[in-house]
């Protein structure tokens, strides 16, 4: 017979009271777990979706000129001297602190060429990175390989191009590998060629006009990445496509804050349930505690019995609360997102946190009742019989 045996026997006897404490804690812990898991799952889902929107960082040469171009409309027709970045410089992007978050780097060389007597913008790109940078592109035909071009829909219409045609530019003849379906962007007006082909056509070997970066921003502040790339490429101007990034982060942050506040309230109420139930339990056990004290249990022994009981219930509630929280998230996730089959993250840290939270709540809320019990005058307690 030890103090633990006494506590365990008492728990078995007072199942209803134990169940109240257990339920109070499970509700608190599972709510917190459900909120956190839901946020994590949604954040992951939103990030995955936003990554499909393509590049979110632009790298352009530093210039003293202001743009006379707005929404694809060029004003005044003045052509400033175009500045360029050395292509090999781009390798430095892979050396930044958050390089793990860099999903794709798309170098681009731009230059004007004359096709059928019309000036047209030729863009050289790395087509290997297109699935990440332009996931919405649908070519009729193929993406171009060496000595081929892909034509934007408007460019193809104006220049009368179709897949299989040849097109002459700068004394070279290239084959049209495909036509892009209409994107509604500036891409519709452009001819695209593989980067080396375009560089040699434009006489810009080893140089690029700009680069696009697709950053996976799950857990990385995009501003930090912009800063890191700026430091790696001092000659370039690095910009985040802020509307996309900021918007999604703010929405998530609001949701996160509301969820944390709600979790806190539910956990607090759970703690109150534990407190009230444990107070009731201690009052019910006045006589018993009197006997314990009379036969020589120290105050600390009484506290240990009560806190051990609370600890056992809390540990069970922590584990159950974690599992229930995951289940709840799984059940309610379809109401928050239209995506199918979102994975619910199983995070050992969260499981440990849930156990810790249950123990913290259960023990904190039991300290006062345990103190009351320990301070009970044995003579008074026995008289209560």
């Amino acid at each position: 017979m030890t103090l633990k045996d006494v506590a365990l026997k008492n728990l078995r006897r007072r199942k209803t009271k134990a169940a109240f404490v257990f339920i109070g804690l499970v509700v608190g812990v599972s709510s917190v777990v459900a909120f956190i898991t839901l946020i994590e799952a949604l954040t992951h889902d939103i990030n995955t979706k936003l990554e499909q929107y393509g590049a979110n960082i632009l790298i352009v040469p530093k210039t003293e000129n202001l743009s006379l171009n707005y929404g694809g409309m060029a004003i005044g027709g003045v052509m400033y001297e175009m500045q360029e970045i050395q292509q090999k410089e781009l390798r430095k992007i892979r050396t930044i602190k958050n390089s793990a978050n860099v999903a794709a780097v798309g170098p681009m060389v731009l230059g004007a060429v004359e096709v059928n007597g019309k000036k047209v913008l030729l863009a050289g790109m790395d087509f290997g990175e297109i699935p990440q940078l332009r996931p919405w592109w649908i070519p009729q035909g193929q993406f171009p390989v060496k000595e081929q071009v892909l034509a934007g829909s408007e460019a193809a219409r104006i220049l009368g191009l179709s897949p299989g045609n040849t097109v002459a530019m700068n004394d070279r003849t290239l084959q049209v590998s495909g036509i892009l379906e209409r994107t509604g962007s500036q891409d519709d007006q452009i001819l695209f060629a593989p980067l080396p082909t375009a560089q040699s056509l434009l006489g810009k070997e080893g140089r690029i006009s700009m680069a696009e970066v697709a950053a996976l921003c799950h857990g990385c502040p995009i501003e930090d990445m912009v800063e890191q790339i700026s430091q790696a490429l001092p000659g370039a101007q690095v910009m985040a496509i802020k509307q996309v990034v900021k918007g999604r982060m703010e929405a998530l942050d609001h949701f996160r804050r509301v969820a944390y506040v709600l979790s806190g309230i539910v956990a607090f109420v759970g703690g109150l349930v534990v407190l009230v139930t444990m107070m009731g339990s201690v009052r019910e056990r006045t006589a018993e505690i009197g006997i314990f004290r009379a036969i020589g249990f120290r105050k600390s022994h009484i506290m240990r019995i009560i806190l051990f009981e609370a600890g056992i219930i809390s540990a069970l509630a922590g584990i159950s609360g974690y599992l229930l929280g995951l289940g709840t998230t799984k059940a309610v996730l379809p109401f928050f997102s239209e995506s199918q089959g979102i994975a619910i993250p199983v995070d050992p840290a969260l499981a440990g946190g849930a156990l810790g939270l249950a123990l913290l709540l259960g023990l904190l809320a039991s300290i006062y009742p345990a103190l009351l019990a320990a301070r009970m005058d044995p003579q008074e307690a026995l008289r209560a019989l």
Binding site: M1, K9, R13, I291, A294, I295, G296, H301, P378, Q379
Partner: protein, 270 residues
């Protein structure tokens, strides 16, 4: 040095002017192996005196020494240790823990100690044998009779071989047959050397002790010492004989109303 020394103990409850004085300056000494009964009407202060001697209640003034140690100079936790190691309590209402078996109830004082499990169990089984309940260790208190519950309470009180056994109306809830069995048991334990202090209303029970202190209104009004030289009152055989003849010799002296100063002469001689 006296084994126990009670020196001018006073206990008051409540604040002035509504102060109630339960014990008004009681002094006496007790030797190792003695069996003392304390008698008195309800409210005479006997239970308060017992609770102070059991270190459950602090006196308003006065001293209480056990083997020269001033018990009320000890801190609360040291007093708890003193109760656990040196005292055994038997309560009127048994005060068993209903969800623990008989054996577990007897083991309870060890729950707060550091003894080895096997040793605890051996001592508890020995205590149950001494009270005649060796076969009922796995029963719950609700599954045994009142007399057996009292025996369990006695086993729990003696399991740690205490220096002193305190009993507060140990037969208050028992019929006369069971009362005699329990008193026989207490007397037997006392004959084995257990120093015993018992509060009782029942003059028949008081007769088992070698000495009776009578209290009235918080005062010690009589200290009747029936001990013989070198002994501690009557032997269990003598007591049994007297008790069995109680019906023909007339009842034991009443405790209500005026106190008898001693047992009736014919009882003493018979």
């Amino acid at each position: 040095m006296d084994f126990i020394q009670v020196d001018n103990l006073v206990k008051q409850y409540g604040d002035s002017p509504a102060t109630v004085t339960a014990v008004r300056g009681i002094s006496f000494a007790m030797q190792r192996g003695e069996f003392i009964s304390i008698m008195g009407e309800s409210g005479s202060g006997k239970s308060t005196l017992l609770s102070m001697m059991g270190a459950l209640n602090s006196p308003t003034s006065g001293k209480y020494l056990v083997e020269g140690i001033d018990i009320y100079n000890l801190g609360q936790e040291e007093r708890a240790d003193f109760r656990r190691k040196s005292l055994g309590f038997v309560f009127q209402s048994f005060h068993l823990i209903p969800y623990l078996t008989v054996l577990e109830n007897v083991l309870l004082p060890f729950a707060a100690g550091k003894e080895k499990r096997a040793k605890k169990r051996a001592l508890a089984e020995e205590a149950l044998i001494r009270v005649g309940l060796a076969e009922k260790g796995d029963r719950l208190p609700a599954q045994i009779s009142g007399g057996e519950q009292e025996r369990v309470a006695i086993a729990r009180a003696i399991v740690n071989h205490p220096s002193i056994l305190f009993a507060d109306e140990p037969t208050g809830n028992l019929d006369s047959k069971t009362t005699r069995e329990i008193m026989d048991l207490l007397k037997h334990l006392n004959e084995e050397g257990m120093t015993t202090l018992m509060v009782t209303h029942n003059p028949e029970c008081a007769y088992y002790a070698g000495r009776t202190l009578r209290l009235s209104d918080g005062f010690l009004i009589e200290d009747e010492d029936r001990r013989r030289e070198g002994g501690n009152g009557r032997s269990l055989g003598e007591i049994r004989a007297r008790v069995s003849r109680a019906e023909t010799l007339g009842p034991f002296p009443a405790v209500h109303g005026r106190f008898s100063r001693s047992m009736p002469r014919e009882a003493e001689e018979g």
